[in-house]
């Protein structure tokens, strides 16, 4: 096994331009193929010919409705959420200098869950265009958590200490999780059940509106991500080493922290907290392409999209007509994956 690892390292001497091109082409093809195939498969048998038959009015065309209203938004949100969580995972791992960090380590997801929970249990509801109560509250909760962690972890004028950041995030995580439990406890039974269901994650959005609401935030986060990969490489050597290689450490840390939190917040608001994507995908990608963030980041976005779409496909077809929550599928894959990693290392 270590010989294979050594060979993999040797392969990384090739110039990065070539490696990047090959990687993007390969993963891109995988993602496109997955996203094209996924809407064709489901728990109900549909006739594609009918689904695309323009002569039948849309309102009468059940096959078309299943394809365009039920499946396509679901696949799209899976791709978006998968890409967002995977890349957020990569960035947080670089920021915290720890490959075991996840997008949920610093409490963003706990804040999002608390926001969603409060709205569900207080029965608050409204909708304004593509925005509705639970996603907005969840996004707001995530923003509050992000703000608190940032404030706790940023000393005056100096770079963030990763230790303090981690401590602040973990503390906030515990605190918000305790609040979530309490809120569930005082809720009545059906509300508590609905809240618990939300925590399992759900990509079945049923229309393009929730996606439209989440896209601006995710696109903004991705735009910032595009600036970061070279800096992330150097940052992972440590803040002092990074500064002496020309990285504006304070600025890079801030950009990394806020963009990754933004991507996570948007993803969780759209589909609830879906775990393991943000750690399994970066690890798998690194096993395949090495650790250079300039390759790992875009590759993770693509592979994350394909991964989550595939997991959701399994979730909705394996035990059809019963659906497994997608968070359960990712956990069932994630758990054994980490066991295997541990066994492999020892």
């Amino acid at each position: 096994m270590s010989e294979a690892v050594a060979l993999a390292h040797e392969a990384r001497i090739r110039p990065i331009r070539i490696r990047l091109a090959i990687t993007l082409a390969g993963f891109g093809a995988l993602t496109v193929a997955t996203c094209l195939l996924a809407p064709l498969v489901g728990s109900t048998h549909i006739s594609l010919a009918r689904a695309f038959d323009r002569s039948i009015p849309f309102a009468d065309n059940v096959d078309a409705q299943i394809f365009w209203v039920a499946r396509l938004p679901r696949v799209l949100s899976g791709a978006l959420v998968g890409a967002a969580l995977a890349t957020a995972g990569v960035v947080f791992q670089a920021l915290l200098r720890n490959p075991l960090a996840t997008p949920f380590t610093l409490g963003v997801s706990a804040g999002a869950s608390l926001g969603a929970m409060l709205v569900i249990i207080l029965g608050i509801s409204f909708s304004a265009g593509p925005f509705s109560a639970v996603p907005l509250a969840s996004f707001a909760g995530a923003a509050v958590a992000t703000g608190i962690v940032y404030w706790l972890a940023t000393p005056y004028r100096r770079a963030m200490s990763t230790t303090v950041l981690l401590l602040a995030g973990v503390t906030l995580n515990s605190f918000f999780s305790a609040l979530i439990l309490f809120v569930q406890y005082v809720a009545d039974f059906s509300q508590a059940y609905r809240a618990a269901r939300w925590l399992m994650g759900d990509l079945d959005v049923g229309s393009f509106e929730p996606i439209v609401a989440a896209v601006p935030a995710i696109v903004l986060a991705f735009a910032v991500f595009a600036l970061l990969p070279a800096a992330l490489n150097v940052l992972s050597l440590g803040p002092d080493a990074a500064a002496t290689r020309g990285v504006d450490v304070v600025r890079s840390q801030r950009l990394a922290f806020f963009s990754a939190s933004l991507a996570t917040s948007a993803a969780v608001s759209l589909a609830g907290p879906i775990g393991f994507v943000g750690i399994v995908v970066p690890h798998l990608v690194r096993l395949m392409v090495g650790v250079d963030h300039r390759i790992v980041l875009p590759a993770s976005a693509l592979f994350g999209a394909a991964f989550l779409v595939a997991c959701d496909l399994a979730a909705r077809t394996l035990l059809a007509p019963v659906e497994i929550p997608v968070g359960v599928v990712t956990a069932l894959i994630g758990g054994p994956f980490f066991l295997w990693l541990l066994v492999r290392r020892s």
Partner: protein, 288 residues
């Protein structure tokens, strides 16, 4: 003279029996954690015996004045014990509670969730436990009669395929819960002249995906909720949420109904009324 003394003895025995019976009745102190069972107790005339109710019990109005002792997740054992009950009505999963009451020498009745037969049997059991068996039997008979009335009303009419929604996220079509093919909601739907689109699901509730909903194509959608969940002016907005699923016959024929009322969701004495309401919704012409 012997006849007269016999009558005297009989009368004395009767008086003593009444005193004993009323004393026994006065000694019955019941605490109920389950809303359905609370309703049942009052419906069979055992209301005076109830000394404490669960936090989510809302009917009948008399329960407002009674002490609240918690519910499924948070039963307040101390509070319950302080009311010195002789009988506590609990959920099946509250095994710790059962053990505690056993040690304290208090009888615990375990609520069984089920369909109409289970509900009727529960009424009879409660009748036995409270000395109101006769009233319980009367109530069961009355409920069965009313259900038969409903069956008769809708007999022979075409039975639409109905999606019975028991929960979802407000204002959006997410996290939809519907009644499966098991349980009292399914049964009263069938009595009310409807066919459950999820009759084949062997569970009380299902959480269908949009794909499944579109594929099942219900003719009618009925959304049930207890009071206090939505404000009444929002019902129109909630109805409108379904309009994106244009291929559904229910949406095309404007057969989306919002029904509000606690009696609709509690598997208790008012379920005949619920069946009646459902029938009026599905077959309004039968009630003119």
């Amino acid at each position: 003279m012997a006849a007269r003394s016999k009558k005297l003895v009989a009368a004395a025995v009767l008086v003593v029996a009444c005193v004993v019976a009323s004393a026994a009745a006065q000694q019955r102190r019941i605490v109920s954690l389950v809303p359905a069972l609370t309703e049942m107790l009052f419906a069979i005339g055992a209301g005076p015996q109830v000394v404490g109710v669960g936090s989510f019990d809302k009917f009948p109005p008399e329960v407002e004045t009674l002490p609240k002792v918690g519910a499924l997740l948070d039963p307040d054992t101390e509070r319950i014990l302080s009311l010195r009950p002789t009988l506590v009505l609990t959920y099946g999963s509250q095994t710790d509670l059962h053990k505690q009451f056993e040690r304290a020498g208090i009888k615990a009745y375990i609520y069984r969730h089920g369909g109409l037969d289970t509900i009727f049997q529960t009424l009879r059991d409660l009748g036995d436990a409270t000395g109101q068996r006769r009233q319980a039997d009367d109530l069961v008979r009355d409920m069965q009669k009313r259900l038969d009335d409903v069956r008769t009303r809708v007999r022979g009419r075409p039975r639409p395929r109905v999606l019975l929604v028991i929960g979802r996220q407000p204002k959006t079509l997410r996290e939809i819960y519907a009644s499966g093919g098991v349980g009292f909601l399914h049964e009263i739907l069938e009595i009310a002249g409807g066919r459950n689109v999820f009759a084949d699901a062997a569970r009380e509730s299902v959480q269908p995906s949009h794909e499944t909903l579109i594929a099942r194509a219900p003719d009618v959608i009925v959304e049930l909720q207890a009071e206090g969940m939505f404000k009444s002016d929002d019902l129109a907005a909630e109805k409108a949420v379904w309009s994106t699923l244009t291929s559904m016959p229910a949406v095309r024929n404007k057969q989306v109904h919002e029904l509000v009322g606690q009696y609709l969701v509690v598997p208790g004495p008012r379920l005949a009324q619920a069946a009646d309401t459902l029938a009026r919704t599905l077959h309004p012409e039968a009630f003119r």
